[in-house]
Symmetry: C2
Subunit: 448 residues, 2 copies
């Protein structure tokens, strides 16, 4: 089974402007409660079609792995499709399919999530199966061997065969001096090769329990029905009293500007990518992240952005420019800018042009009209997004998994709308500190 | 109490050509045996003066620390001078002093070592006390608070107030993508601030046991007397059956050349330092390390070296040049080259000149006369070093702590003498791969 969404989710995080919830929360029927064993439940009602999506999010991702076992969070995600006390290996997904549904899972730095989309009347069965594999997986040495080959092949396809992915790994490793965000989600190959049954089970036993999980159900359901089903399934599993606090190693002060060059014969389009260490969304204090999100849109969000206007249209030295900010992380995140030069323009020239444009931007300040347009766009996106209950579900699940609250999710659209030009410039002044940055060049093997 | 040697030992490792044992081992009276509980013992006889040095080396250094607790190995080293079941806090060193001796300790990436130098007839007392604190330390919350302030102040003095040390930390962090050698021995400040009693005790209980220790006694002693005393003291402590294998995270392939710039107003002398990932001494296979050691001497070992001749004397663009290779580590180490330009020469120019000289060296190859001179010098050093029993003791202790054997130590001088010019060029070709390197510029705040 190919667990496709892992990297896809990451790319989506990196390249999509996060959608946010409509300001009018009455239109978004969200109910939130907690079972006695500590499992949080979020229900997003959408009665337009008789379908339902169940997601279970564990507050355990690659950044929670013990040292030396990189990739075990994602490995375990694969292994959850093997046998349990009640199901044969593969029977989980086969049952979902036999019921006309589809299922999958994904792993990120901060969480691992499992989901199924089925006809609404099959929700109880889905919960029963998902609750079963929260505690009762039965792994064999053969499972380990087979599935380790699968994840290694996944790494081969997505990373080893992809110069941009290799470049990105080395860049992240240089960005983080001490924090596990510097280690790839899929794992370092040499550590993946050593993952064994014990690694997988100890991660499972440590982190897979109702008091470390969030259930999100979206679609044609009533909250009271979800509660009843949840109590009958997940509610029967005792909380794990040994659940550890999340141990995340923090960064020391980043005081030395870093650069790196990765050369690879397979590179078709060389580019410059700079990543800055940046604050993330914090519960009750999302203003800084909101300002950075708008900054990324102003600078590099499409063809009307500052970078595009200057480098693609005025100077015509770039084929593509962009700015990416991942707001939704538990710990300090990154803000990236990218320039793909046109043929004949060197990476040195591209980088110098980028630096010049950043200086110009800091001098010129935020164009109030541009900011208003972006806010209107965000508001429209949010209203549109409301229509997709699964996206809403996803937003709540990931937010709760990274330490935000339901209130934070509901405040976020207003926080974004309240950002001022001065807030953005203030955030930019803090952000653009080269001492906390890595500038990477991705080059063709024999380039300049 | 200031535990001075920690950084001093490190600097010594970096800036001193490792001495090696004389070829004529008959002149070096070394006895090696193992107690029933697994504690290794090395005795180095030297009967010229009635003094003795005891060292106990634990195979536990900063690179063995759990994530998030950097500095705990060194912190624990300090705490071993507090109370035990039998001694008051501070009584250990006071007793050594009252007996006319001196004592201290030091921590490195791969080990922590404690030593006392006293009159030969006090050895039994020293062993009794050292064996006592292997198992019986009694720490109070006040010890933790006080000693944490001491190590923080130590970090302040040696690192925070020293731009070259800060630069070195950032450079190491960029060199290692996954291995703990990228974390400073003394610890990241923010993690040191959080070290507590439990961190210290769990490191102590995990690693401090006779089967993880090496006793080295040098001076006016007979091996049978040392064995008797050791059996009566350390021999009474049971082996720890839970002693874990050393879990060291390995590096992924280093495929992207890195650079960094650290600017600091306090920098008086800017310089360029490049560090390459390099193989270390491996048991039974020391040839590669021997070739690198000679390479470092050829390139940057003093005023007759290749770098000095070209950059200090011919071109006169450098005040100082050097090459440093730390052969004595458990895992992959570094090989560093340094150029301090004369006033008026930029770091850019200095680096370009360095690169040019390296190319010239690779083309010119090893000057056979230069190599012969170096080997003769090493041989002389080794014969001279034999006279210092404590240095011999140190060499055996550190070697055994990093996975080498007594045989490896005794072979090392011959391995060094057997290195050929072609071995060195072969080692250099493997070493000088910029993809596994970091080039750092240490600059004055407002420099170019």
């Amino acid at each position: 089974m190919i667990r496709l969404p892992m990297m896809a989710a990451l790319v989506a995080t990196l390249f999509t402007a996060p959608s946010a919830q409509a300001r009018d929360n009455e239109n978004e029927a969200v109910t939130h409660f907690t079972l006695d064993n500590g499992m949080e439940v979020v229900v997003v009602e959408d009665h337009r079609a008789p379908v339902v999506q169940q997601m279970v999010w564990y507050r355990a991702g690659s950044a929670d792995e013990p040292k030396g076992s990189s990739g075990v969070a994602h490995f375990l995600e694969h292994l959850l499709f093997k046998a349990t006390d009640k199901l044969e290996s593969g029977e989980f997904s086969a049952t979902v399919a036999a019921n006309g549904g589809r299922d999958n899972a994904f792993t990120s730095y901060d969480y691992t999530a499992y989901f199924q989309r089925v006809a609404a009347d099959r929700l109880g069965l889905m919960m029963e199966m998902e609750a079963d594999r929260m505690k009762n997986i039965r792994l064999t040495p053969e499972n380990i061997e087979t599935e380790r080959d699968v994840i290694l092949e996944e790494r081969n396809q997505r990373t080893e065969n992809n110069p941009a992915a290799l470049f990105s790994e080395q860049l992240n490793a240089a960005q983080y001096l001490n924090h596990r965000y510097g280690v790839p989600i899929i794992g370092w190959k040499h550590e993946m090769e050593e993952l064994d049954l014990e690694d997988a089970l100890s991660f499972y036993e440590l982190y897979y329990s109702p008091n470390n999980a969030i259930l999100v159900v979206s679609g044609d359901v009533m909250p009271e029905d979800v509660r009843e089903l949840a109590e009958a399934t997940y509610g029967q599993i005792p909380a794990n009293p040994e659940l550890p606090e999340r141990l995340r190693t923090a960064e020391p002060p980043q005081i030395a500007e870093r650069r790196l060059i990765y050369k690879d014969a397979r590179v078709a389009q060389p580019y410059v990518r700079r990543s800055y260490l940046a604050q993330e969304r914090d519960s009750g204090a999302q203003e800084g992240a909101a300002a950075l999100l708008l900054l990324s849109e102003l600078l590099g969000g499409g063809t009307t952005s500052y970078l595009a206007e200057k480098l693609q249209f005025d100077e015509q030295i770039a084929n593509y420019t962009g700015a990416f900010y991942k707001a939704d992380t538990l710990d300090d995140t990154t803000f990236d800018v990218v320039v793909l030069p046109v043929p004949g323009v060197s990476l040195q020239q591209a980088e110098e042009a980028l630096d010049e444009v950043l200086v110009q931007f800091m001098e010129a300040g935020v164009d109030p009209e541009h900011l208003e347009r972006l806010k209107a766009q965000l508001r429209a996106d949010q209203i549109y997004a409301r229509d997709d209950a699964d996206r809403v579900a996803n937003r709540y699940g990931s937010a709760l998994a990274i330490g935000l609250t339901v209130q934070d999710v509901q405040d976020w659209p207003d926080v974004l709308q309240a950002v001022t030009a001065e807030d953005i410039m203030q955030a930019a002044r803090t952000l653009f500190d080269k001492r906390a940055s890595v500038t990477g060049w991705l080059m063709k093997e024999d380039a300049q």
